[in-house]
Every structure is written in C-alpha cells, then in structure tokens.
C-alpha cells in the first residue's frame, strides 16, 4: 500500500504539535499520541521527525512506540473490529465470536486484511461489562452478542464501500 | 474563588436547582394532568404553582402530577399532601393556585372556598 498518509500537510501539522509541546516535561507520550491521530500510525519517518523535534534519541522513541500496544508502526484497516476479551466478556463467550470473525475475514487477531479494509483486534476490557460480550466496529458498538449475530454484522461492513 | 462565602452563595443558588432529587417527605402538590385536566386548564395552574413556590423559595415542597383523579367535572383539581392530611382543591385557576401557595403552604391556612367540600355543598 502506498504511503499516502506521509504527506507534506501531515508533517506540517506534526511540526505544530512538536512546537506546542517543546517545553513540556515528559512530552514524548503526548506527542506520539497526537502524531498517531494525524498519521494513523507511527512509521520510522514520523519517529525521526519527532526525534529531531524534541531532541530525544530514535532508540528511545522506537522503544516507547513498540512498548505500548496502542501505538502502531503500520496503518490500520478502514474498519477496526475490536472484540472485547475482558473477563466478563470471556466467560460469556467472546472467544467463539473472535474465532468466527477471524474465519470470515481470513485474518487472525492483530492482523489487517490484504485489501486494508479490516483490522481485527482482541482488545482489553472496555468496561461495558453489562453488555458482555461486546465488540466495536470503529465507533459503532454491538453488545449482548450471540454467535448468530456475527455474520450479519461483518457482511454489512464487507458490502460497505466495496 | 477568593472566599468561602462565594462558594456558599453558589451552593445556595445551585441547591434550588437540584432539590427535587433529594427531597423526601415534606409537602406534595399533586396536579391532575390527564386529558380532562389539561383540557380544563391544569397546565397554567401547575405553572402558577411552580412559579409561586420558586419565587417564595419554599423548601420541602414537591410538585408532581398524576393522571385522572376521577371527577372530571371538577378539573382542574389539585391535591395537597402534608403528613397524613390531604386537602383536595377543585376548579382552580392560576390565581387560586397563587392564593393556595400563600395561604395554605406558607401560613398553613386551608383556602376553604376552593376545597372540594365548599364546592360540593
């Protein structure tokens, strides 16, 4: 996939973010978080610009980016399907749900489909245990799921935009 | 904020807005607001109660509404509950409502001429 998110415009926005946090103590995390908002991910090129901007070695930045699960080196799919694997969801049957979606999309949790349309994530507890088992597709929430609901939901997004 | 007095002032003002959620007991003014009540003019009566009670900053009074009390010909009807006592007022106007607040709720004197007893005689 072409790296069209590494645009001049996005880098300009990043420079503003760096400028804004320039004198803050412990600025790296907020800068990375805002950079990921801008680019959708944190590839080496973005890390390099941050390294020069706030004067922190690349090795430190790479270490931080790869430590936290929310930072990603590669772009995510158009739709991110996150299935909650918190304890409450797990004991109410989240595992077969992930397996079903993985089977339908042909990707394992943590992967993005070849056409960059779907990313599947087995996520940590999102704290909506009253609706267990629960999953989200981008901003949309699907709660109190049963296995039979899955094909319809996934097919809906498969059709969209294709 | 520079003083406790300022906080106290905000608190007093703000408490007015939320007292509905914490009050138990006290006086309950129940307005009959079924179709018959509304048709007979219960809404302006209720609004008069709301306005007057707020104007006088009465504590411990809750205005609530109920369905048909069952005597449609006597609407708008209002019942005032205070402890064990219940007074039923009938055929009220907004003017009567203000009088009831001033006389009954503030001074504890039942407005006899508006009660169901006076009307049914």
């Amino acid at each position: 996939m072409a790296k069209e998110y590494l645009t001049e415009e996005n880098f300009k926005k990043l420079d503003e973010v760096i400028e804004h946090h320039q004198h803050q103590q412990g600025a790296l995390m907020p800068v990375l978080q805002e950079a990921q908002e801008i680019f959708g991910c944190l590839p080496i090129e973005v890390q390099q610009r941050i390294s020069e901007g706030i004067q922190i070695p690349m090795s430190d930045i790479y270490g931080v980016v790869t430590f936290y699960s929310q930072f990603s080196l590669e772009p995510k799919g158009e739709y991110t399907i996150s299935v909650c694997m918190g304890t409450a969801c797990y004991v109410r049957g989240a595992k077969p749900i992930v397996e079903k979606i993985a089977e339908m999309l042909g990707i394992a949790p943590g992967e993005t489909s070849a056409d960059a349309k779907f990313s599947l994530v087995a996520t940590r507890c999102i704290g909506a245990c009253g609706l267990a088992p629960i999953m989200t597709v981008n901003e949309n929430v699907y709660g109190r799921l049963v296995l039979e609901d899955i094909p319809e939901i996934v097919e809906k997004y498969q059709k969209e935009g294709s | 904020m520079k003083s406790i007095a300022e906080l106290e002032a905000i608190r007093k003002r703000a408490q007015e807005g939320v007292k509905l959620r914490s009050e138990k007991g006290g006086v309950r003014v129940v307005v009959g607001m079924a179709t018959c009540g509304i048709a007979a003019g219960a809404r302006p009566v209720m609004m008069a109660f709301v306005e007057e009670i707020n104007k006088r900053e009465l504590k411990n009074v809750v205005i609530t509404q109920t369905g048909c009390i069952g005597a449609c010909r006597l609407e708008p009807m209002v019942e005032v509950y205070q402890g064990e006592e219940k007074i039923t007022y009938v055929k009220l106007t907004a003017e009567d409502a203000r009088k009831i607040v001033a006389e009954h709720l503030v001074n504890g004197r039942v407005v006899k001429e508006c009660t169901i007893g006076a009307y049914e005689k």
Binding site: G26, L28, P30, D60, G86, T87, G143 | L7, L20, G67
Partner: protein, 598 residues
C-alpha cells in the same frame, strides 16, 4: 438557575452510552420542545447508575421512577404518558430478577438496598459536566474547610484516623502514604492519581471519573495542600475517552471558578493539574511504571525503595493514590474520621466499590460496606446466577486475584480475608463463574493476559508466565501429565517469590487458587481426559445417542469433514472421533437433539 417541576436523569456512562443513551437524550429534548414541556422538565445526563445490566437507565424525579432498558422508540411513550399526563409507564419500569416484581421507585430496587454510597454518592445523581450541581451537593466545601481552617498536619491526621486504605489493590494505609510524602525533602512535589484501571472487568474508576469528576479534582487539591505539592497529574488509560473528556471539563471549570490555580480561597495556596494518557500497557497500573510512563519512558517498574513518596515523577517526591481512594477524601473531611471509621470491619474501614460481572443477573457497580459477605453481594445485591445455573466460583482481584469457591461465600469481604483465601481485593473486579465455566480454562485466560502484559524486565515474570501458559495449554489440550501439574505449582510459587513488581508477584494467583480449590478439575483433564464443564474443545466428544437417532442423515450432510457415517433410514449414525474437528455443526443441525457433547 432555572427551576423545573421534573428532572429526567439519563445515564451517560460508557455502558449506557454504548447502547444509544445519547440518542435517547436528543429525542427527549426534541419531544419536550414539541410538547411545550421544555420549561418544566429538565433532561440531565448523569454518570453511571451502577446497574449496567438494566441499561440504558432513565430515572424521572420527583417520583424516582426507575425505567430500564430504554430504547429510543420508548421515549415518546415516557414523554406523552409520564411527563405530560403524569401516568408512570409500568411496562418500562425495572423488574427485579429475583422477585419479578415491577419496581416503581429507584429506592425500592433490591440492587440499591444493601448499598452504601460514599465514593459513588454523586454518580447517577448529578450532571458531571456541571460544577454548579457538584457544588449543590456540598462540592468543594471540604477543600474550603481544609484551606481556611486546618493545617496540613491536621488533614493528614484525619485521613490517618479514618483508617482509609488504598483502593487500587495494595490496601496500604492512605494517611501514612500522605505523611511519608509530606515529610520527604524536595523543592517541588507532585500529587498523582492512578486512573489506569487495567483489570479486566473492573470499571469503578471509570465510573467515578465519568459520573463525579469534580470529586477527584477537589480531593487532589486537598492532598496537594496536605503534602505540600502544587501540581497534580491524572494518568488515565486511553481506552476511556468519555472519562477523559469529563475530567478535562471539570478541570477547566474549576480553573474558571478559581478552585484550581493561584491563591485558592484567598489563602495563598496554589494548585494546578493536568491529564496524561496511557497507551495500552497494563503494567502502567504499577506505581513506578506509571511514573516512568508520565515521564515519557517505557512503562517498566523499578525496584523500591526509593518509594515514590521520596523519589517519584521527575525524581520529585510524589503522592500517588487511586481514583476511588481520592473519591472518599472529601466525604471524610466533611463528615469526619470517626464517621468513616464506623463503617466496615476492624482493619478495613469504609465502603468498597465492586464491579460485578460474568454469570450474574445484575451486572453493574455496587458500593457496599467492608465486611459485607460475598453471598450478600452476589445474591442480595447481584440478584444471583441467571438461567437457574449453579454457582461455581467468584473471581476477585482481576489477573492478580484468585477464584473463591462456594464454601467460602459467607466470608466477610475485606483486604485481609480475601488474601487469606488466596485471592485479593485488587481494584474490585468480581466475576461470577457458573457450572459452565472450566476453571483450568479460566486460569489459562488470566495467564494469557499476564504473559502478554509482562513488561519483560525481570526473568521470573517474563519467562515464568510463558512457561505456565504452555503447561496450561498442554493440560486443556488433554496432553498434560500429573507431573505437569506439579511443575505448574512449583513454578507458580517461584514466580510469586522472585518477581520484581506486583504484576509478577501476583500473576500465579489464578493458578494457585484454582489448584487449591479445584484440583479435581485439573485431574479430570489430565487423568480422565475430560473437561467437566464442557469448555475445552480438545477434550470434548460429540456422540450420537442411538435411542434418539431417527437415521435421517442430516448430521452427516452438515459435517464439514465427512466424519459421520451411517445409512439413511436404516442405520444409526456414528461419529469418527479421530477425524472429528469438534465444530458442533452436527449437534446444531440435529432436529431430534440426538447428538450430545460429553
């Protein structure tokens, strides 16, 4: 402030917001205008009511009518019947699971009866985005009293005498922590709030931040005064966008009103605070890892001492408390140490918030006095187990805790009793398991979690959790030996003793507690190659019950690997166990329920 005859409270907590409470609020507002009621009735978006199972929840005052599972399509009915005509819509009221009775008022609901709300007192009562409503319920009164009437030592003395202990899991006496930080030498000190609530199934901190964010702002300012700090950090996990937004609103409102900033209440005391976001690392709930993360480093724990009270954020003395701990502070100041100490047990004072989830009727948040028994929490407040299933265990304390079996249900809940049972209080997650849950599988689930979340710094945790996970995999696949079970136990004890931080030291608890109370389930997997709960697919067998089989052949047609043989109309069908992939398609397909799992 405008006055209204009726208030409609709609839950805007994450649970209810996930089921469209935002659209419900919009719909109420539109309909009120349409019916000309917008000057009489006020719609208030509140924090979590706690009874998430019944969400989205709507409460109408002054009646206190408790509507549950409200859909957008129910809104017109509530407006037209209840708000316009004053008739409570009985069909939409909450129904108690245990009695099936319809509950008219929020005060009658069994879920709330045994609760005592201190930390959650404002959640579901006030609009969290309004500083005025917080002030109306005595907000910032405690800060005012502290700044104008008390010395820092007096504040610390009250917190110490209250007996409050850290609600994040450790249970360390809060007042002592404050005293250490106050006595530490430093030109600059910090107060930090740990809102990196990572235990799966625990969401009380999120609910406090969403439902009563000003309580945290106020408490941190009080703590700042007591220990001599002028700056606060709140470290919130990034998975909680609503909580972050509301906390930011609260901080901004407090600044506008001069309750944060310089010269608060004209006393010369300065305090400011900012939010820092986590990025998805469970270990950052550990205090030294959290500090590293705020500093912009990998969130890895370090050896203590020095404790954060001496050397914390940017090497300055730092007071670090959890959200629920802070939420108790303003009430302790207002009502006194004796009042707080009168609630609870001898060594655990006050109340504790639990997040009740799993196989339970009333999923949600409950705040109960310390010393309430597990049985009361699960049956009286939680409403028991759904679908007539049998209780098997309750898992407390998240991945650091353990599973407690039925024979200990009458144990009063406090820090020390739970530890004695091989579990712990943790942050207050309480997951109920029923007969359909396999305890070996549950232990494996937690190991999967801790293995992935181990930061990798120390060997016992990094390698040990991986090896334990492998052994558990072997057992659930039916390939384990009793030697593996023994190895598992030795390994668990070693990791517990040798790990650097709390994550590693407690990671073996799920294994050790299930081995202690449910060893027979491990033995069934190893010796009999059976999973008693029917969860572990490698140990399952699908069998045709000859007496029930009508020889129709539907199962054979459905089988994706053609492992079912028989002759249609003549012969009972048979499943070839060597070829069977245990997908369950045959069982689902059989119209006569002639295939069973065993």
């Amino acid at each position: 402030m405008d006055l209204y005859r009726s208030h409609v409270l709609v839950c805007g907590g994450t649970g209810c917001a996930s089921s469209e409470s935002g659209r419900i609020i919009d719909n109420f507002n539109e309909l009120l205008i349409e019916h000309g009621l917008d000057k009489e009735v006020k719609i208030v978006k509140t924090g979590c009511f706690g009874l998430c199972e019944a969400g989205p929840v709507v409460v109408v005052y002054p009646e206190g009518a408790f509507y549950s599972m409200i859909k957008v399509s129910d809104v017109p009915t509530i407006v037209e019947e209840h708000l316009l005509k004053g008739r409570i819509v009985t069909d939409l009221l909450y129904k108690d699971h245990t009695t099936s009775e319809t509950m008219n008022s929020i005060d009658e609901v069994g879920f709330y009866k045994k609760q005592r709300r201190v930390a959650l007192r404002n959640c579901g009562v006030i609009n969290p985005e309004s500083i005025e409503e917080y002030i109306a319920f005595d907000g910032y009164q405690a800060l005012g009293n502290v700044l104008t009437e008390m010395s820092p030592n007096q504040v610390i003395d009250i917190v110490k005498r209250s007996g409050l202990r850290g609600r994040g899991g450790g249970g360390f006496p809060t007042g002592t922590k404050w005293e250490f930080t106050q006595k530490a030498v430093g030109d600059l000190k910090y107060v930090a709030c740990n809102a990196d609530e990572g235990d799966p199934g625990a969401f009380m901190d999120r609910s406090v931040l969403e439902g009563d964010p000003h309580a945290i702002v106020e408490a941190m300012a009080i703590a700042g005064y007591a220990v001599g700090a002028s700056k606060g950090f709140v470290y919130v996990r990034a998975e909680y966008p609503i909580a972050v937004k509301r906390l930011q609103i609260a901080i901004d409102q407090a600044k506008e009103n001069g309750l944060l900033g310089e010269d608060i209440f004209g006393t010369g005391f300065n305090f400011d605070m900012e939010i820092r976001l986590g990025a998805g690392a469970f270990v950052c709930g550990e205090e030294t890892a959290l500090i590293a993360s705020i500093e912009g480093k990998r969130g890895m724990p370090r050896v203590r001492p020095p404790f954060p009270a001496v050397k914390g954020i940017f090497d300055k003395p730092t007071l670090l408390n959890n959200v629920e701990t802070f939420a108790n502070i303003p009430q302790i100041i207002l009502k006194g140490a004796e009042w707080f100490a009168s609630i609870g047990t001898e060594k655990s004072k006050g109340t504790k918030v639990f997040a009740l989830a799993g196989k339970i009727n009333n999923t949600g948040l409950l705040e109960i006095p310390m010393g309430t028994t597990l049985r009361e929490a699960i049956y009286d407040v939680g409403g028991g187990i759904p679908n007539g299933k049998a209780f098997k265990a309750v898992q407390t304390g998240g991945p650091s805790g353990g599973c407690i079996p039925a024979e200990y249900l009458d144990t009063p809940i406090d820090y020390d009793n739970l530890i004695a049972l091989g579990s712990m209080m943790g942050s207050g997650g309480m997951i109920v398991l029923d007969e359909d849950n396999c305890m070996v599988d549950v232990a494996r689930f937690f190991l999967d979690f801790t293995e992935e979340e181990s930061c990798g710094k120390c060997t016992p945790c990094r390698e040990g959790t991986k090896r334990m996970h492998e052994l558990l995999d072997k057992i659930v696949d039916g390939k384990g030996t009793m030697d593996d079970v023994a190895k598992l136990e030795t390994l668990a004890k070693t990791i517990k003793g040798a790990s650097l931080c709390g994550l590693g030291q407690t990671a073996p608890n799920p294994v050790l507690s299930t081995l202690k109370y449910f060893r027979h389930e491990y033995e069934a997997h190893v010796l009999d190659h059976k999973c008693p709960a029917g969860v572990c697919s490698a140990l399952l067998q699908y069998l045709v019950v000859p007496d029930l089989c009508k020889k129709c052949g539907i199962c054979a047609a459905k089988c994706p690997v053609n492992c079912i043989s028989g002759v249609k109309g003549k012969e009972v069908y048979l499943i070839d166990q060597d070829k069977c992939i245990k997908c369950g398609a045959c069982m689902d397909a059989c119209p006569f329920k002639a295939i069973k799992k065993g």
